[in-house]
């Protein structure tokens, strides 16, 4: 590892680690402690777990005089790595009022300092060891970025459960509960950034839609390749790059909007079982759902809970927080279908500038592809091998990235995945259809 590389790495380490803390800055210790549902985790747990990842996979391996920061943290902050040992039960993460938030910040600082020392020392290491360190640090940073997105989605869900309708960002109103009013929550740069990026995404759309077919971009298909290639960072599930055969297809240039989805609702889409997968219809009945997550009927229209409080529906903005079932039903109603992940990736890579919008930074886009290993996939040896492979069943792949995805974290080959009923992520729809053959 050259000095330059080390400097770069340290700069990224500091940037990523401090962005996580910036995301938590608008939140009180109470906000950070509570778990609103088993699928979500407390922010404090995210802060600890991302640190645990570095401690366990980097410090424990590379520090010659390694001593754990706290022996209990190995269990408390282990998410699902069986090979690391015991894990605190996931649905009980919200019971951990101790360690207090301040101590988790100390934990972060302590591990940060030791990582910096380790990197400094590594300048003198043999190249293979340097590479191993670099690779695990990289993984840890991307891992932390994944949890940054989860912090946003988990805190959004938590705040939505509160009848006081708390706002996360600096746009807070004047109620007694507003963080600004209590003076205990710093103004949130991170929340402002999120908001700004969302606005940019929407503006970007307007000027360019003067194509042949204003709505659809066609692709000839054929024998193509998907999967990650080259040197850059990628998760193991993006490899190996491999061939797939694609029939001609078309992708919608932009995502389905809130206005379009509201039309689906108005047309009785949630009352017609013929539009739904059988399991989706059962899901709908059992949950009593009548709209996407965070939508609420409001004076003849809809309003949406957002990180900036409840806001009226924005007809041109993309619809978010859909389950797979809802995305699939909408597509059927619209006479289209969801794309496969291969269509999405091939389309994204082939699209000339201006032909496909909102590929990234707006909403994760459900594909009809079940999450499965690519041909030839091999999980890494050791606990790190549990990162992705063991989840490859009964989940569906989402492509793109969302307004909550950290900068520098999105890739066209990125494979996000969630179960079909998940709605608290920033999940939307890009339609696809078969091309005239």
């Amino acid at each position: 590892m050259t000095g330059t590389l080390v400097v770069d790495l340290l700069a990224r380490l500091r940037a990523v680690r401090s962005r996580t803390e910036a995301l938590a800055a608008p939140l009180s210790a109470e906000d950070c402690c509570v778990q609103a549902m088993p699928d979500a985790s407390p922010v404090k747990w995210h802060l600890g777990h991302t640190t645990w990842f570095f401690e366990t996979f980097v410090l424990e391996r590379f520090e010659s005089d390694y001593v754990p920061v706290h022996p209990a943290f190995r269990v408390l902050f282990n998410s699902y790595y069986q090979q690391v040992g015991e894990r605190h039960p996931r649905p009980q993460r919200g019971l951990l009022t101790r360690p207090p938030l301040a101590e988790v910040y100390q934990y972060r600082a302590s591990v940060n300092a030791r990582l910096e020392r380790l990197c400094a020392a590594a300048r003198d290491w043999p190249a293979p060891e340097q590479a191993a360190l670099w690779s695990l640090l990289e993984l840890g940073l991307h891992h932390e970025q994944q949890h940054q997105e989860l912090i946003v989605t988990d805190i959004k869900f938590l705040l939505s459960c509160n009848p006081l309708m708390p706002v996360y960002g600096p746009l807070v109103g004047t109620t007694a509960c507003a963080p600004a009013a209590t003076g205990r929550h710093a103004s949130s740069d991170a929340a402002q950034q999120l908001q700004k990026r969302q606005q940019q995404q929407q503006q970007q759309l307007q000027p360019q839609q003067q194509q042949q077919d204003p709505d659809w971009a066609g692709f000839a298909g054929g024998l193509q390749e998907i999967g990650h290639t080259g040197e850059g960072f990628h998760f193991d599930n993006e490899r190996p790059r491999h061939r797939v055969y694609l029939a001609p297809f078309a992708l919608a240039r932009r995502l389905v909007t809130q206005g379009e989805y509201a039309a689906f609702l108005a047309a009785g889409g949630y009352q017609d079982p013929g539009l739904w997968l059988a399991e989706g219809w059962d899901w709908l009945q059992a949950g009593g759902y009548s709209a996407p997550l965070y939508w609420q009927p409001d004076a003849g229209g809809w309003s949406l809970f957002t990180l900036q409080g409840r806001q009226p529906l924005q007809a041109e903005d993309p619809v978010l927080h859909l389950s797979y079932y809802e995305a699939d039903a909408y597509a059927r109603w619209a006479g289209a279908r969801l794309p496969t992940e291969a269509e999405w990736e091939h389309g994204a890579r082939q699209a000339p500038a201006g032909s496909l919008y909102q590929l990234h930074d707006v909403a994760w886009q459900w594909t009809s592809s079940s999450y499965a290993p690519y041909p030839g996939f091999q999980a890494a040896a050791g606990a790190v091998g549990e990162y992705n492979g063991k989840f490859m069943v009964n989940q569906y792949v989402l492509r793109g990235s969302s307004a909550a995805t950290p900068p520098d974290h999105a890739r066209d080959t990125y494979r996000n995945f969630f179960p079909t009923g998940a709605r608290w992520q920033y999940t939307g729809v890009r339609l696809a259809r078969d091309a005239a053959r």
Copy 2:
């Protein structure tokens, strides 16, 4: 209301209200926010609800210029009063990270100040109105004392779920999680008091056991009266005083000890269905219980989770945290039975000094009496009438009071009640048996 009475009342108001806050003092905002199970509530919610009780039943009724402190609090802090209106769902009390703890303290201070002003003004009121105010303030204070006990039991349960085994009091060790170590939790007078009272109770036992029958106190029974009489405060469920016929019976002089209960475990008591009620045996199997709550096998013996951390079993101390089923099974194994609530109350009242120990301040004592209205019971009109009456089904009466009961809150006529499976209260057993007839 004379000046003296007002002064007394205000003194008690200040004492009770500040004791609640003293109980919360050793806890962080995080500790106070989390709900560990649906039966328990967050400490912050207790702090708010006891204040809501005064605001709703006193200020709203007596202040001529009443304005709510926060319109949402009427719903958020309503426990179960249907006639007051909507209630935030009980299992979701732990999701209320807002209002922050500091704001709930402001709520308390604000209502306290308005109560004081009201009392000052009331000096000039007509007697009936004064009496109505006095009566509701009294009720509010006793209500708050009930929640003081719940604060202790709920926080004990929450802390017990944490693998770090946090301690509540000043006896905290030196781990990273110790409140003292983090400097954010004041030393706890309330916890010290609790501990001291427990110690006193145990010492009190030793010298006096030189009776005829060292273990049992006999009572002739006959046509007797139970229920509250006279002027002092009581809950509506303690009235009317009424006649009951009692066959001759005996009560154990003291509560069942941890050592005795450990002998029951060692004798296979949890493996023999013949000792259990059918429903109790099902409860045991479904829950996989093998000892009282907070007991853990430990180097050939048992250790117990306490508010001062995990401690070895104290053979002479009373066993706590038993369900009705466990209390009943133990009694059957011991060749005895649980007392009825009439036996308990009559026994407590008739007992010459030194004949019955541990009637109060140690453990609530399960009786075999289902919680039911006394003959002639009438619930009060209005929302306050929901206080007790609507819970009179499928619960069992506990008599006495516990180490967690506030001072000046216990009465021989007091009827506590819980469902048969509840274990997180300070619940123990005093045996009874039929006398030779």
Copy 3:
């Protein structure tokens, strides 16, 4: 046992045993096999279990050359006797398509024959052994009568789940599913008897209501005795007879009618939480109930599923199939309350002819008394001791007897009991109130 006694006993044995089979006669093997809910049992299982009771507690004990009819039956037909050994799980009784119904009838015949042989042989036994045999045979007959009532209630519930609305009795119409039409179900004397008795009960009411207070019968109370006394058969839970003190009270002369209950529904009784126990209101919401079991809205009124098919509400007939919660809520709405079991028993015994109607043979009458041991109660030794005692928690006592109760099975001291949510029994309400208010 004298010859005469043996003859009497054998006559009763044959009568009771054959009545059970008469109850099953209108049913097909399919009807007899299915379990409609965990609380109910298949008729075939009742046929087997009542036989098992005699085999296990009589033949196994008294036959010197005892050989089991089928070794597996000891487990299959054991209901809940832990001391007898393993039990087939209750919720899986409906999976026992084997042994076939015909084999269970053979089982009955075989055990009947062995019981007759045993009784013949017992003429020469010493008196104590004769008495022991007699006592267990008596118990077995009363046990079988209890299951006769369960056969009626369980089959009624099963048939009510069938959209074809099958009828149980001979009044069957002409649909393809009518038993008569298929020629495979004998005309049902038992069903006719049930119907006739119900009609008699209702007629009996009309002429006699010319009392002082046409609706209420008053009782002075005082120190009284309840519980069984004398020589006749009784279950262990009816003893010991003991003293109770009763304040003056009144009992309604007749049961609440369907018309009265319909008025409660029309007045919004199921929408007003103030009328319900808190647990009752939760039960109502969770179950989505809007009327008693088997009631269905019908052209502006109500129709009821009965064993003779769906029939219009009969305003003068007593309301049946109420849970404790519904009975309690109705009483509160009516400005009354449920009687205690002591009030009911004392009232039933003291009532001059014509002062209280419908004490028996119409509906079991909920009391406000939790099912508990009488003072001095001791369960019998051995497995038979599990008959009653182990269920004495979280159930409420019902007094009287119902249209489904076998002849010669009712007693004023009889203590029936069910959990508060049970509705599939013939359960109704007799109101009570305090006297001199």
Copy 4:
């Protein structure tokens, strides 16, 4: 439709319809009525539903004077066709003791007769109408064959729940419950056939295994086609035939055996989370499974519940009744993987005689392919379109066919599908692996 075709069709209709009844012949009316779990259906319901399919989709459409056999049957025997209307709830199919079994047989006979009359009349119809009739009759026959397999698997599951271990076939022993002994169950040709076919399958294996690689057959892959082609019957989900790209791969020549699977168990396979998908491990823990369905520890080895009673493990026979999770874990342990459905189909079609055994008639073979529409798939219009398409989520494809599959029902392009936890079908494993890595 020519006379010959009609004759052929009628012959097949009679053969398929009567085979269904032959499968039910060894069963009593009780056996046919009970539903052992929500996933399974009573045999009587299968008998009715397969008839309903013909009545609803053929008679109702083509009979000019159509009158329903029984108006309620349209609801009772509708499985999941929303467009046909209401459906009796699936988990309550076992409550339908009426119509009695005999009436369902009458229903079958009546519909059979009307189908025969319709076919006779159809000789004079225009060709397009004839074709439509033919096509729906074909679908109905294949539909009925699918239910024939379900009859076998559902009854096997039901009988396995009975501690008497009933046998389905003529190999019945001498217990009191043996159908032969009671004289009420005809000797079962169908059961004998099943047994015979299973034996043939196993014998067929022995002689031919003298290949280059005795265990694996290699395939070069490349751009291939899968899906049904040509004129023969197929379900809609087998179309359109389409191109897929396959990397070189190998398939195991035969299925995993019981002996091999027992070795996996002996090696601790059910105790090592590293071998399991995360969801599979959770499934294992929640269900407490320690072996495949129907396996029971037996004197140091295993015995298996079969339709011929409990039998010792047959080491050379293929393992059956595995969930997807178990199949996947075994494959991982064996250093292999599950095939994709495209690999399976291509391999099956390309395999020279003797290179792959047990493709059909032994066990359905789990593939790693999620059940999804083929590119260009369009569900048929109308209710028939609900046949397959709406289930294409969260299920996995099984290929081949099993010992319980009816003759003439298997195809290499056939796509069976079940959720990952299903075990009561005849489900096994054929391993796959990447070639030349």
